[in-house]
């Protein structure tokens, strides 16, 4: 499943996309520790897979939550680097 967490507002589109089929195969879930804002939380989804989702209390603030990691001079993002199965994408 492709899960898109985020929003669209007057300033743009801010989505983090998680491919849960890839995420479910990852045992380490290193993205959880890698994100300095604690955006990723482990869950069992509706189909019984152990995956991560974006913290529901932070999902409407993604533009601001991710701001510190976003300067173009220090790619790649910590969450993307930590995600060994390549399940994560940012839309902005």
């Amino acid at each position: 499943m492709i899960a898109n967490y985020g929003y669209m507002d007057g300033s743009g589109e801010y989505y983090i996309t998680i491919d849960t089929d890839k995420c479910a195969e990852c045992e380490g879930k290193m993205c959880i520790a890698a994100c300095p804002k604690g955006l990723f939380v482990p869950i069992e989804d509706d189909y019984g897979e152990d995956v991560v989702e974006i913290d529901s209390g932070k999902v409407k603030e993604l533009k601001y939550q991710c701001m510190d990691c976003k300067p173009t001079e220090k790619p790649p993002l910590p969450c993307i680097s930590a995600c060994t199965p390549g399940a994560l994408k940012h839309s902005w």
Partner: protein
């Protein structure tokens, strides 16, 4: 008393041809949305009855208010329910549910039941959020996107315009087509901006129908942007309260160049898709993991 222009029909319905006494598994689904709450009963995985009410000020009361009249209407005792699944915005606060399932998964399964295995894209236009969902032939979600950050493109936005212009919400769809000139653009980013622009249009001499057309167009454009992000595959189906507003749905179809399908059984209400999906999850859970009926023995709602 001030007229409530936003008010829509609250109703109980059941399939008279079905008999709950002969059912092996009775499952209930309760969808506590931000604006409306629905309860659905399924008999052996088949849709039997539904109730739609306005969500009150707290989720536990709304859940009870949705389910209790439906049980009385159908003559089914609370203690005979094999499985109760809660979903929607208020799902974590339903005290008598056996399990909570996300509204994304429930809409997928409920819409699949209503349309059939050819369904691939669902647009759920809810009270305070909007969801674009892709499903496979079994109704399992393969891709989803939800926007619940603002009221643009939602039922709450439409209620606001109904009250502002003093037009009953059930008439908005038809009236939005009773215009001589194409709808003028209006803000699709924010309901507050749209409300200001709507008032400005009224003051500039536009008719109410022209303003309604502009608002319906703005709403359709907004959700089309959402759908564009995940793409639209046939068959395409619209659920939620706004699915009953042709002023919005026909403009979405025009934007996409695709006609939305209707439920295969015309008696099925697309507004109840989430609760139906929850009841279907309940049926599967009761079949695989066993009935929870014993935990309700001797209890009433």
């Amino acid at each position: 008393m001030t007229k409530e222009y936003w008010r829509w029909d609250e109703k109980c319905w059941k399939d008279e041809s079905m008999d709950p006494k002969s059912a092996g598994i009775i499952s209930a689904g309760i969808d506590i949305g931000s604006v409306s709450s629905e309860a659905v009963l399924c008999l052996d995985g088949k849709f039997y009855a539904s109730n739609t009410i306005r969500t009150g000020s707290n989720s536990p009361t709304s859940a009870k208010d949705a389910l209790k009249p439906l049980l009385e209407y159908t003559g089914i005792a609370y203690e005979n329910l094999d499985y109760i699944v809660g979903t929607g915005y208020g799902r974590v606060n339903i005290p008598f549910q056996d399990k909570a399932v996300t509204e994304i998964a429930c809409h997928g399964r409920g819409a699949n039941y209503m349309v059939g295995p050819s369904l691939r894209t669902i647009l759920d236009m809810g009270g305070q959020d909007c969801k674009a969902i892709h499903v496979d032939e079994k109704g399992k979600v393969t891709n989803f996107l939800m926007n619940d950050k603002c009221a643009a493109g939602t039922g709450r936005g439409m209620e606001t315009i109904a009250d502002l212009l003093k037009v009953p919400i059930t008439e908005i769809g038809d009236r939005s087509f009773q215009i001589d000139t194409p709808a003028e653009p209006i803000s699709n980013v924010c309901v507050v901006f749209a409300k200001s622009e709507a008032m400005a249009m009224v003051k500039s001499g536009k008719t109410l129908n022209e303003v309604l057309a502009s608002y319906c167009k703005a709403m359709a454009d907004r959700v089309t942007q959402l759908l564009d992000r995940i793409g639209v595959e046939k068959e395409f189906f619209i659920t939620g309260g706004i699915s009953k507003n042709r002023g919005v749905t026909e403009r979405i179809e025009e934007n996409l160049g695709i006609k939305a399908v209707k439920p295969k059984d015309a008696r099925l209400d697309p507004q109840t898709a989430g609760a139906l999906g929850a009841a279907l999850f309940g049926f599967v859970l009761a079949s695989k993991k066993g009935s929870k009926k014993a935990s309700r023995k001797g209890q009433t709602l």
